[in-house]
């Protein structure tokens, strides 16, 4: 039988089936990828920390540990370092640090604090001025690594302004009375954040700083002295 000349390329049915296939299969791939990613970004627990297992989103109990953000040779970018580093940029999970005067928050206590903080971040609409993990509005600073911000460390402008001696207390004080500490003409409004909510929020911020964001933001806090304050109004 001789081949009949037909034009598949101008056939509606061919394109309809192709569109269905491409859409369906891309969706399936996305679902598969989602399962894989879910497994990787599930929050860890204290057991992981005890076993020195690095999680992309670590346990809420990281608030008991010292947190840094350092270049990791193997990864090729900066990663959060929890409890000191082993010399290669990986976490040691050893060095502790006081958080509101304690470094022994149990899993339950830490989870509750984080829960309260995350709820507060939504109830107060943080994301409609700030960015979290780079998403949100662009009216106020990114809070992804706010816990590690030089301004909040000892000797930093923000900590000095609040008159507190630790960064968690300074942050909590600022969150409760933002109007009292204007750092810029653009002031944070008073959102009625209570003492308890402020502690939760600071725990949330500290935890967020320990999430492995593949090196975002790059070179965080690498500000040269002198440049910083020269131009602030």
């Amino acid at each position: 039988m001789a081949e009949k000349k037909v034009s598949v390329w101008s056939d509606n049915r061919f394109w309809q089936r192709s569109a269905t296939w491409v859409t369906g299969f891309a969706s399936l791939l996305l679902i598969w990828l989602t399962f894989d990613t879910m497994g990787q970004i599930t929050m860890g627990n204290q057991k992981d920390i005890n076993n020195h297992i690095t999680k992309r989103v670590p346990s809420a109990t990281v608030i008991n540990y010292k947190v840094e953000y350092k270049m990791n040779q193997r990864r090729g970018h900066e990663v959060p370092v929890i409890g000191g580093d082993d010399g290669k940029g990986d976490s040691l999970f050893k060095v502790k640090e006081n958080f509101f005067g304690r470094d022994n928050y149990s899993q339950k206590e830490a989870d509750a604090l984080l829960h309260l903080g995350k709820l507060a971040s939504q109830a107060k609409n943080c994301m409609d001025c700030h960015t979290l993990l780079g998403n949100g509005a662009y009216y106020a600073p990114d809070l992804t690594k706010a816990w590690l911000d030089p301004a909040w460390q000892k000797g930093g402008t923000m900590q000095a302004m609040t008159g507190k001696s630790t960064k968690e207390e300074a942050m909590a004080e600022f969150l409760q009375n933002p109007g009292k500490y204007p750092t810029h003409a653009r002031m944070m409004p008073n959102l009625g954040i209570t003492q308890k909510e402020a502690v939760g929020l600071v725990a949330f911020l500290k935890h967020m700083a320990t999430i492995d964001t593949n090196g975002f933001p790059r070179g965080f806090g690498k500000i040269k002295e002198g440049v910083v304050y020269a131009r602030s109004k």
Partner: protein, 474 residues
């Protein structure tokens, strides 16, 4: 839109209600946008009364809601036309319209007067969910899902009973996906990475996949109605566009998963799939241009009048071809590669892209639908552009492009100073905000926002009065 109605179907009348609310919300979006823009320049403006976070929240929510309203309206408008029958259960459809509108009003009033709540799950249920774009409290989420299910049932039953067309098939499957995806954004988790992961399922898969397909389907309908293109050819192209839009758009989701705690393999998936996203936009542009020219050629040969039967709609349709490519394509592409995105993520670049893309890809085609509804309502054979139609399209386009350019300059300055040089800290942020380039960009953004608003008033005037001017109606 008052006056004698010439709609053949009740469904089209319902569509005009949806369009009317959409226009009101569009106005609200512009108003609150102006407030937020003023606050960038004079931070004390309404400080403590209507703070930036609230103004901005209503600004973006009004945007999403007016577009959803206009899309539902558009579906109700073309549904009887495509299927050849009245919308099934029109009574319920009208009831759902009032329920939805009431819910939206309550949500907005709560946003304005209550604003924030205590860190309690009750706040999430009744005041705000506090997740950018998805701030609507949970009771409203559930209400929206119920209303949308009713809408879907209506359209499905109508489509099954009436004539089946390719455009209807695309729209129906797209609406299911659109409604289903909303469910991904309705739960609470302490894990912010998980939170953001699913949040993007709603935001990205709406805006860069299902909404774009909706635009493709509406453009196909408009090409048939306004330009007079051949249905078979248009529908074949629609299927190709669906394949390309979903083929690139679904996994293009990866470009939001570079830095939120998700694995590194998303760098590659996100970069390469989203680099393909502009391709269907070029295709849509070429397609609209070609069909328009071809049909004009036919008319010329036949010695007919070559002007379109709805010039304002056609103008907006053509600006959709350009705007979609420019706003979604060019502005999206130049910060989508992870090497660049690590510096641009979370800067005014995103705002520039957002303004241009929402306008170019969606506002334009939905406004074209408004004009088609005006034409249908008054049974006008030929609708010609008035001075106000021209002013509206010119001022709105000029204003939005101006805002886009200003925000791009602001974003560029932020990338250089706050990101590349100073490393994204608190101080780095404010140093960048204080630079002259940033300050002037914000001034220009406000000026261009005012220009856009003036254009909006021309648009309102035109939609209300174009049918009454005998010079423009044939």
């Amino acid at each position: 839109m008052q006056g004698q109605s010439n709609f053949k179907y009740e469904g089209q009348k319902l569509a005009s209600w949806y369009f009317t609310v959409a226009m009101i919300l569009f106005g609200a979006q512009l108003l609150l946008g102006l407030v937020a823009a003023i606050q960038f320049i004079y931070p004390s403006f309404l400080y403590g009364i209507l703070d930036f976070s609230i103004a901005r929240m209503i600004h973006i929510n009004a945007l999403v809601v007016w577009m959803v309203y206009a899309m539902i309206g558009a579906v109700y408008y073309l549904l009887p036309d495509e299927t050849g029958i009245e919308v099934v259960g029109i009574g319920i459809a009208k009831l759902l319209f009032w329920i939805l509108t009431l819910a939206v009003t309550v949500v907005v009033l709560v946003f304005i007067f209550i604003q924030v709540g205590a860190a309690d799950i009750k706040t999430i249920w009744f005041i705000t969910e506090g997740r950018e774009y998805l701030e609507a409290p949970r009771w409203a989420d559930i209400g929206i899902v119920v209303v949308v299910l009713g809408f879907l049932a209506n359209t499905f039953l109508t489509a099954i009973k009436g004539r089946r067309t390719g455009i209807m098939t695309v729209i129906l499957s797209d609406m299911i996906a659109l409604a289903g995806l909303y469910l991904a954004g309705m739960f609470f988790t302490d894990n912010i990475s998980m939170d953001q992961y699913w949040w993007w399922w709603v935001i990205h898969l709406w805006v860069e996949a299902t909404w774009e397909v909706m635009v493709g389907a509406l453009a196909a309908y408009a090409l048939i109605r306004v330009v007079g293109a051949n249905r078979k050819v248009v529908e074949m192209w629609l299927w190709i566009e669906v394949a390309m839009l979903f083929g690139s758009g679904i996994l293009g989701l990866g470009h939001h998963y570079f830095w939120i705690g998700t694995p590194e393999y998303w760098w590659e998936i996100g970069a390469l799939f989203s680099a393909l996203e502009p391709l269907p936009l070029v295709g849509m542009f070429v397609h609209v241009l070609y069909d328009w020219g071809k049909e004009n050629g036919f008319k010329e040969k036949a010695g007919e009048d070559t002007s379109s039967n709805n010039t304002p709609a056609l103008l907006w349709l053509v600006s959709n071809g350009f705007g979609n490519f420019l706003g979604a394509g060019v502005w999206g592409f130049f910060h989508t590669l992870p090497q660049v995105n690590i510096y641009t993520h979370g800067t005014q670049f995103t705002a520039a892209h957002g303004h241009l893309a929402f306008f170019g890809a969606y506002a334009t085609i939905l406004i074209a639908m408004f004009y088609m509804a005006v034409q249908g309502k008054y049974g006008i054979k030929k609708l010609r552009a008035t001075f106000a139609s021209k002013m509206a399209i010119f001022l709105i386009t000029f204003g939005v492009v101006g805002m886009g350019v200003a925000l791009t300059i602001a974003g560029y300055e932020q990338v250089l100073i706050a990101r590349a040089q100073l490393g994204a800290t608190w101080d780095a942020f404010f140093i960048a905000q204080n630079q002259t380039w940033m300050a002037q960009a914000m001034d220009w953004r406000l000026i261009m926002g005012v220009v856009t608003t003036v254009g909006f008033f021309y648009l309102v005037k035109d939609l209300l009065s174009i049918s009454k001017n005998p010079k423009n109606v044939y």
